[in-house]
């Protein structure tokens, strides 16, 4: 086990995870950030998506030790002081989610995508989110939330 230091949601964190421990498990177990969910543990569902150094990443496909020195953002770190960011608010307004288990992964993936593609079309949004699985919604309400957030971002 090696000591690692990383920044998570703007705070410097340390830990001593086994090399085999995934970033997903490290966030959930060692840092008590249970907002990141584990859906498949083989990188196929996107529920565990976080942002590392500005890029969306499947935290089940990264070892915790690989995050040493990196800047990690999880769902808990998105909104200022317990409020809701633009995307989260737009998703609330759009009834984007039902059971909520896939939600953090979608929010993080969409956040990363909108940062790079603020004027994306619906088709582009669908393709960008095609690696996140939701079993409850049929996706339309999620897409609507992302489109609404993009529109509101443009209005600023």
């Amino acid at each position: 086990m090696a000591d690692i230091t990383l920044r998570v949601n703007g705070t410097t964190c340390t830990g001593s995870p086994e090399a085999r421990k995934t970033l997903a498990d490290f966030l959930r177990d060692d840092l008590n950030l249970t907002g990141t969910h584990v859906g498949c543990e083989h990188g196929a569902c996107g529920a565990c998506t976080v942002i590392v150094d500005g890029r969306a990443v499947r935290s089940c496909l990264m070892l915790a030790v690989q995050a040493a020195g990196r800047e990690v953002t999880t769902i808990e770190g998105l909104a200022p002081d317990g409020g809701l960011g633009t995307l989260q608010q737009a998703m609330w307004d759009s009834h984007s989610f039902q059971c909520g288990f896939c939600t953090p992964g979608f929010v993080m993936q969409a956040t990363a995508f909108l940062t790079g593609h603020p004027d994306a079309s619906e088709q582009q949004i669908r393709e960008a989110l095609s690696g996140n699985i939701c079993r409850c919604t049929g996706y339309q309400s999620i897409i609507d939330g992302v489109l609404l957030a993009a529109e509101r971002n443009r209005e600023r």
Partner: protein
Amino acid sequence: MTAIAAERYTGASIKRSEDPRILTGAGRYVDDIKLPGMLHAAFVRSPLAHAHVLSVDVSAARALPGVVAVLTGADLEAMTVRAPDPLLALFSTGGPTPEFSLLATDKVRFMGDPVAIVIAESRYLAEDGCELVEADYDDLPSVVNAAFALDPSSPPLFANLGDNIARPHSRNEFGDVAGTFAHADRVIDFHIDVHRHQNVPMEGRGCVASWDADLAAMTVYAATQSVHITRNGVAARLDIEPGQVRVLAGDIGGSFGLKIGASREELAVAAASRHLGRPVKWVEDRGENLTASGQAREESFDVRAAVSNDGDLLGLDVKMVIDTGAYPGMGTMVPDIMQAILPGPYKLEALGFESTAAITNKASYVAYRGPWASETFVRERVLDLIAKDLGLDPVEIRLRNVAARTDPPASMITGRPLVGVTTSEALERVAQIVDFPAFRRRQAQARAQGRYLGIGVATFIEAAPGPRGPGGGLGHESMRLRLTEDGIVALFTGQMPHGQSHQTTLAQIAADEFGVPFEQVRVVVGDSDVVPFGLTGGSRSATMTGGVALHGARQLKAKVLDFAAYLMEASAQDLLITDGNIWVRGDPASAIAVSEVARRAASGPFGADVDAKLEVEATYDGGEGGWSGGTHCAIVAVDAETGIVKVERYVAVEDCGALINPAVVEGQIRGGVAQGIGAVLLERSAYGEDGSFQSATFMDYLMPTTCDVPRIEIEHLETVPLDADVNFRGVGEGGMIVAPPTVVNAIEDALSPFGVRIYEQHLPPARILELIATAE
């Protein structure tokens, strides 16, 4: 949260109170639970489908540092008692029940059957421990399909049953079956297969069980559709009183019928916790969820249809075989439900129905959203096939056969009255929304260019909760409603939402009835010590729980007004509650906040003639109940060179009664349709000929994505109100029931130039090309 200034919440798409926590990662799911001293469990599972267990050597596993205990099937038998599945105990139809243990003891009966439980300091270590358990098996021939299971030469999975029949063959007839078939212009035979697929919630099964030896009390943090059914299941197996078990559930990551009662694994975890005197957590991983949690829908049907030359569907005679897997449960109940509603909204004169349930070396058949859905698949496929044979349009043949809405209503030949059914209106509305003639022109043009477009229609009704009538009552639903000391209208319900948004919808109803803002209502769920008995399932909650919330809120309001009348020295009849204030009609200055009245009620004592206990126990019997239903239409594009199918357009016209929250209703419909699309194009729980399970990862069990599910256009029909107050009907299952035949009908239409006829539900690209090749 800012106050919502809606005059009436009911009927509006009020934003969900669940969402702020969901959207910020503050939800509490079972895997988020951490208790001091908590251990983690993993299961050793059989790699074989059918085998004797010769020995299970756990010594190396027990010696691994970090492993605290390893228990075998025999160990668990010694610390538990046999008990029936609690869900079956509620709904059982009788018949032989195979005896089985929590973990396999002498036999394993499907690939993934748990053989030992390893409890360790972490899940990582528990899995390491599992690898060190040495189980020795003596392979037996596998029973991998129902046909072989029904063959007397197949090796019986359960010694006490002697054969592989989970429920003996039965036949029922309704109407004059022989006469109807004798006099029909045509009798057509079909064989239709529905494939095995499964629930796949994004969160698997799991629990944290915590035994307190001092109190002899078990607490289970569960993911379940009913805290009470889980409680009963745990108590029964552990041979303790239900009162010694408390089941708590927070947020649940979907279920779709999977998480009811307590699975063998969860019971083993509870027993392990008691044995060790420490909390034990088990949350299944995706491999376990796909392999062992249970599967659904594997049914086959021999159908005879008695038809007139003009397209009247006079009678159906159906022989059904259901593959219930190795540890039969829900599967034995499904044929009865199907039989009862197979006629659907049509004027069927006669129905013969026989069924057999077979036991095979596969994971158990479990309830999956609309467990009876194959009745709609069979009926709607048959109608399309008959229409093609007779040269009739698919909408026309359905309109022809729908029972007219009469007063008194016609009944299904199986007994239930078709009261308030709006199938004809739904069919006609679909035909208006989707310009069929224009599509046919576009289809012809596309065919000329070698592109294959198709359109499909299917219709259904669902007993959500079903009409009151000769079929019997609708059961009842309980709720406790209390005006708390701080002025909150609290609803205590046995409903256990796992995506249904009950904490929002029930609050909407109660807020409207009582007269407080939406934010002043709190829906309390998920504690078996606190809430009344309930189960979220069967698309009942809109009517049953919506109804008890409505009537209960009225009763609570009456009580509160009686008390307020005492406080305000007014007559209760003269008092109103609006926007959280109680005031005397005509005298706005008299207004007192509901919260103030609540505070005063809590600061008694009062005289014997003053009832300051602001709480009611309400029950509701479903009122007039009613059907939900609808007609769906899909347009697909089939690439005849690759077999890839795209759903281009999807329209749903639904009647699910009065809408509590349109956005919630539409979300339920869309999610169900997505599962139906997934079933047809992507999802299959595949077993090899040796019983090996082949769909244990998301690379093999393919889930529909944003690129597979189109925008779904939804229209709500104005319903026929049956009840003075409660006309909400359930919508949770309909999308998944009717989407598969809708999409399959469209695919068959697309492939009609090739003469393709489809008698199955799973149509991956390779199968599409096979159908084209064999039809030509």
